[in-house]
Each structure stands twice: as C-alpha cells, then as structure tokens.
C-alpha cells in the first residue's frame, strides 16, 4: 500500500451520478484509489464499469448531466473541489492521453498549433520558441519529420502518430500525473506496444505518476505496477498487479482466467451472467449473482473494503490461490461468449 502522505493522487470514496430517464443514476460508487510517484496504476473493468467516469472525475470534466455527489479528489495534498482548483492543473501538472487520438485532436487546427498552445500555457515564451520545443518533444518521442507533422492536421496522420502527438501534448509541461484513457484502442499491436513502452518509460523515469485506463488485462499485466479492478461503478480490488490477479476477489480471478485462455488460444470460460448496467437495482454485492462462491451474506450485504495481503478487496469471501479452480480449463458445461 502507498503511504497516503506520498500519494500524488487520491480519490476518496468518489460517487458520481448521471441524470437519466428515471432520475439520478449512480455510475461511480465510492470509488477509492491512489497513485504514487513513479508508479503506473491501471484501472481495468468491463464496459459500463465506470472506467471513463473515473478518468473524467479526476480531470474534473464530468459530462453534462453528471455530477459528483460525494467524496473528494486530492492532488498533491490539495483538494480539487471547485473548477477554480483545476484552473492551472490540466495541461500543466496533469497530463491527459485520450482514447482516440485522431478524433481527439481538433480537426480544424494543425496538430502543431495545438501542441504550441499547450507549451505556451505552461510557460511564457514566443511562438517560435514554443515551436522549437514542440519539435524537440516530438523528436524525443521518436517522431520522424517532426516539422512536417507539426504542420499537419490530425486526419492526415496515422493513429499511432497522432497518439505520439497527444503524448507530447500530455508531457509538454512536465506533468506530475498523466491520465491515459484507453490510449491504445484502435492501434495495431506493434504500435500499441511502442506507445505503452514510451508512456511507461517517460513516466517512471522522472518519478511521475500515471493512471492507465484500459479494458485489456494483458496491458495491465505488462505495463502497470498496481491495478484497480472496477465492477458496476466500484473499485472491487486494488493492489499489486500480480497479487490481484493471483488471488483475492473472485471477479479479478475470473478476468484473469479469460485472459490466460485467450493467450493460450483456448476457448475461454466466460464468467456466467451479465454485468449490471447503471441504474439496475443492486442489493448486496454487485458481483454476487455471477459469483461461484457467493453466499446469502453476499446477496444481502454489500462488502466494505478490507485488506487481503497487499490488496484491498470488497469481498466477503476473498479466495486464496489454492481454493480456486485452475485457470484456463472449462469447469462449467454452459459456456457463454465473451
């Protein structure tokens, strides 16, 4: 566990609701996680688990209709409770790498002008000077012909190149924290590896913190130090990657089973049942209906976070490695598609 004093970012029981057809729908429920200096923390979960809302809550940019109803976000000891608190944070001390770089860069401005704008927001300097620094940044990120890239529009560049530009924008002002929201979706596997290597080396080298949001456990296992597993708007397990995937929360273990099966080319065993969607009525533990080891207690009482080894899990019956069926082999007759 990180010592809370040295934590760079801390989310304390953040709850977010969205205004929907039938009133306020919770999308984040008491989300708690922390990022220390020099570590990359992964956030993993299925669609609808609240990963993107977590990123947006940290950035203080919840969409229209969504609001934080409780909890706090603390960045380097300062509580971020008002828009003003964020004023000189984003783009300078807090970098952001988007999910779809080609759609995220503004299509009507050159990528260079967007990079220059961010650089000049960080420190006062002339346009020419900022341009030079932009070129240097791109060169440092392995971009060939940085001058040409600067003059291009997003639609003229490949996804991988756009993502390098976005990383340059994120790192332009030496941020202490970088939030990456599915940074490699839509990129091919080689480019994905390059981008993540780049991101990790840039972060860890200078003692910066990183929050990497993904639905890909493989990415987490390869590049992250710690992981927070989200389910139905909650962080159900958080801890060192190897620990979380080995034992503890049955859901995390189930995910690992699928990941390993896919890696081995074996037909994966899907976790039975479906993810609750925001707005579904949840009683007790949200995972209980799909859980192999659930008891009446699980169906009645929502578990509070409790330590389990180096992890923190929300589970009444955290399971040790030995108790769980071996991963990668079908154990049930009915198989559901992932």
């Amino acid at each position: 566990m990180m010592d809370s004093r040295s934590a760079l970012l801390e989310m304390r029981d953040v709850s977010v609701t969205v205004r929907g057809a039938g009133g306020e729908v919770p999308v984040l429920r008491e989300v708690a996680l922390d990022v220390g200096r020099g570590e990359l923390v992964g956030v993993v979960g299925e669609t609808g688990a609240g990963k993107s809302f977590t990123a947006r809550a940290v950035l203080g940019l919840l969409p229209h209709g969504a609001r934080r109803i409780s909890g706090s976000v603390v960045f380097d000891g300062t509580e971020l409770d008002t828009p003003r608190a964020y004023a000189n944070l984003r783009g300078t001390r807090m970098g952001f790498v988007p999910q779809n770089p080609r759609l995220s860069l503004d299509p009507v401005f050159t990528v260079g002008s967007q990079l220059v704008a961010v650089i000049r927001r960080g420190r006062r300097m002339s346009r020419t000077h900022a341009r030079k620094r932009g070129v240097a940044l791109l060169t440092g990120l392995g971009v060939h012909e940085p001058e040409r890239v600067m003059r291009s529009y997003a639609h003229q560049l490949s996804g991988g190149l756009c993502q390098r530009v976005c990383i340059a924008i994120a790192l332009a002002n030496d941020p202490e924290l970088v939030i990456a929201d599915e940074p490699t979706t839509g990129l091919d596997v080689t480019v994905q590896r390059q981008i993540l290597d780049l991101l990790r080396s840039q972060l860890v080298r200078d003692g910066r913190g990183g929050l990497l949001i993904t639905h890909d456990l493989g990415v987490i296992a390869t590049w992250c130090d710690r992981v927070a597993v989200m389910y139905a708007g909650r962080v159900v397990a958080i801890g060192p990657v190897a620990d979380v995937l080995r034992e503890g929360h049955p859901y995390a273990h189930g995910l690992k089973g699928i990941a390993v099966a896919l890696e081995q080319g074996v037909e994966p065993v899907a976790i039975p049942g479906t993810v609750p969607t925001p707005g579904d009525r949840i009683e007790g533990c949200a995972f209980a209906p799909r859980c192999a080891v659930a008891t009446d207690l699980c169906r009645a009482d929502d578990p509070a976070p409790r330590p389990y080894g180096d992890q923190l899990v929300r589970c009444h019956h955290p399971v040790a490695d030995a108790q769980l069926p071996a991963v990668g082999h079908p154990t049930r007759s009915e198989e559901v598609e992932v």
Partner: protein
C-alpha cells in the same frame, strides 16, 4: 495483446431526453382551432360587414363606437376584416399544401425509389428551381398570370414543392433497400403497390411535419404577396393587402390599420410553426439538420 474483457467503447453519457413537444402541439392546435372557429362563425357575431365601406368613419382609433381594432381609410371595421381575412389566408395555405403534396411527394418517391437517371433528372431540376428565391419567383409568376386566391395558392404550392421532393427523396432512399421493401419486391408487388403500401407510410412523419411548416411559410408568403399587390385582389380582406393599404397613415401615427392584421399573421404562422416543430420531435427525436 490478450485478455480483452470487452471490445466496445467506454460508456457515453446518455443524452438528456428531449421533450415530446406535446405542449407546443396543444398550443398550436388550440390557436388554429380558435382561429378557424372564429372565422367560420364570424357572420353570427360580427357587428360590422367586412366589405362595407363607411367613409365618414375613416381612421377611428381602436375602441371607438364598437370598432374593437378601429377603422381604416375607407371606414372598414378592422376587427371584422381581420377575422374574415383568416378564411382567405387559411384557404390559400390549404391550396398551397395540397398542390405541394400532389406535385412534390410523387416526384420525391420516384426520385428516391428509382434512383439513377430519374433521380438525376429530378435532382438537377430541383437545383435549378432552388436557385431562385421563393418570394421573388412567386412575385414574378403572379405578376405574369394575374391575381386571385386560387392562383396565389397554386403558385405558393408550386414554389413549396421542391422542399417536399427533397425530404421525401432522402427518406425514400434510406428505406429503399431495407428488408421489407426487398421482400415485397421479390413477392411480385408492382412498383406502385410497393410505394403505396411500404414506402409512402414510412414517409408520413416527414410529410406531416413539412406540411405544417410549409403552411406557416404559405401564410407568410401570401401576406408578402398581398403586401406588394400581386396576391388576393382588393377589396377582399386579405391580411397582407390590409397592411399595405394601412401603411398610408403610418407616419401620421395611425398604427392600428397595419399592426392588427400583422398580429393575425404572426398568430397563425406561429400556430403552424409550433405544430410543425412538435411533429418533427414526435416523428424523429434524433432528427438533426447537418450538412
């Protein structure tokens, strides 16, 4: 990479639900019904004949001697004329919509369903036609063919038709290749049968919506034509024409002659606009106008 938990994008915020527009619809229909009733029952309750001039009573301000809206240059009672005028403007709008539907819908269906050469010819014709501003075209045509309620309605209908052609064509193109149309084609229905049973019903939402919107345009266009003197002939109490004769005293402070007929135009156009807007939200809440 391995271990995809799910391959779809992260959640988007649900867009806030649009209002269904029931209130706007009720308001629009309410105004329309009231106007219709008022003008049809006019002979039963109006104290003055809208076509009876009374020169000594020229330019009486509103409220004098039972003239609710005052009188104009010829001593006509303005309230009576405004109420009667609704008949002509409504009739013109009705004729215009009927003409626009009869001309526009079949052409749109044909262009959208047949495609290829038919579509190209109709679309090019539309382009040429739409190069002319509507009002200008209507003025020119009416200038050449003379004046009257019917001819005004027909001309407005003809200049409104291209909008129907375009909308119906787009809608038809999107449904042309759907399964059920394909199935109907395979089971030996004729083209006309397919259009009547499958294609036309799918277009009704668009058609109703545009009909209401076009009715508002027709009211405004008829008034503008009356105002420049090529619409309904004098002395019929058409609102645009009333405003035009009413302007004579304007600079001397005689405002009621042109203000009240104008209010009537706004009220009726507003009613149709409200109905059109509500219908468009009802027909397709996600209908967006983009390039």
């Amino acid at each position: 990479m391995s271990g995809e938990v799910s391959s779809t994008a992260p959640p988007r915020t649900p867009r806030p639900r649009r209002r269904t527009g029931a209130r706007g619809l009720a308001l629009g229909v309410g105004i329309l019904a009231t106007v219709l009733l008022a003008t049809l029952l006019a002979p039963l309750y109006l104290p003055f004949d809208p076509l009876e001039a009374n020169l000594p009573d020229q330019y009486l301000p509103p409220g004098t001697d039972g003239h609710l809206f005052g009188t104009d240059r010829s001593g006509f009672d303005i309230f009576s004329r405004v109420v009667y005028g609704a008949r002509y403007d409504l009739l013109i709008a009705l004729i215009a919509i009927a003409v626009a539907l009869v001309v526009g819908v079949p052409l749109g269906l044909l262009a959208g369903y047949r495609g290829r050469a038919t579509d190209t010819v109709i679309s090019r014709l539309l382009d040429v036609f739409q190069a002319f501003p509507l009002l200008v075209l209507a003025i020119a045509v009416l200038g050449a063919f003379g004046r009257g309620i019917w001819i005004t309605g027909v001309v407005i209908g003809v200049v409104s038709a291209p909008t129907f052609v375009r909308l119906v064509r787009e809608q038809t193109r999107t449904i042309r290749d759907r399964m059920f149309v394909e199935a109907a084609r395979c089971s030996g229905f004729t083209e006309v049968q397919i259009m009547r049973r499958y294609v036309l019903p799918a277009n009704l939402g668009v058609i109703y919506t545009q009909a209401a919107t076009s009715a508002a345009w027709a009211i405004l266009l008829a008034a503008a034509l009356g105002f420049v003197g090529v619409g309904v002939p004098a002395p019929l109490p058409e609102w645009g024409y009333m405003i035009s004769t009413g302007t004579e005293g304007l600079t001397r402070g005689i405002w009621w002659t042109s203000v009240f007929p104008g209010l009537a135009i706004v009220l009726l156009a507003l009613a149709f606009t409200l109905i059109g807007e509500s219908l468009s939200r009802w027909a397709d809440p996600r209908r967006r106008r983009s390039r």
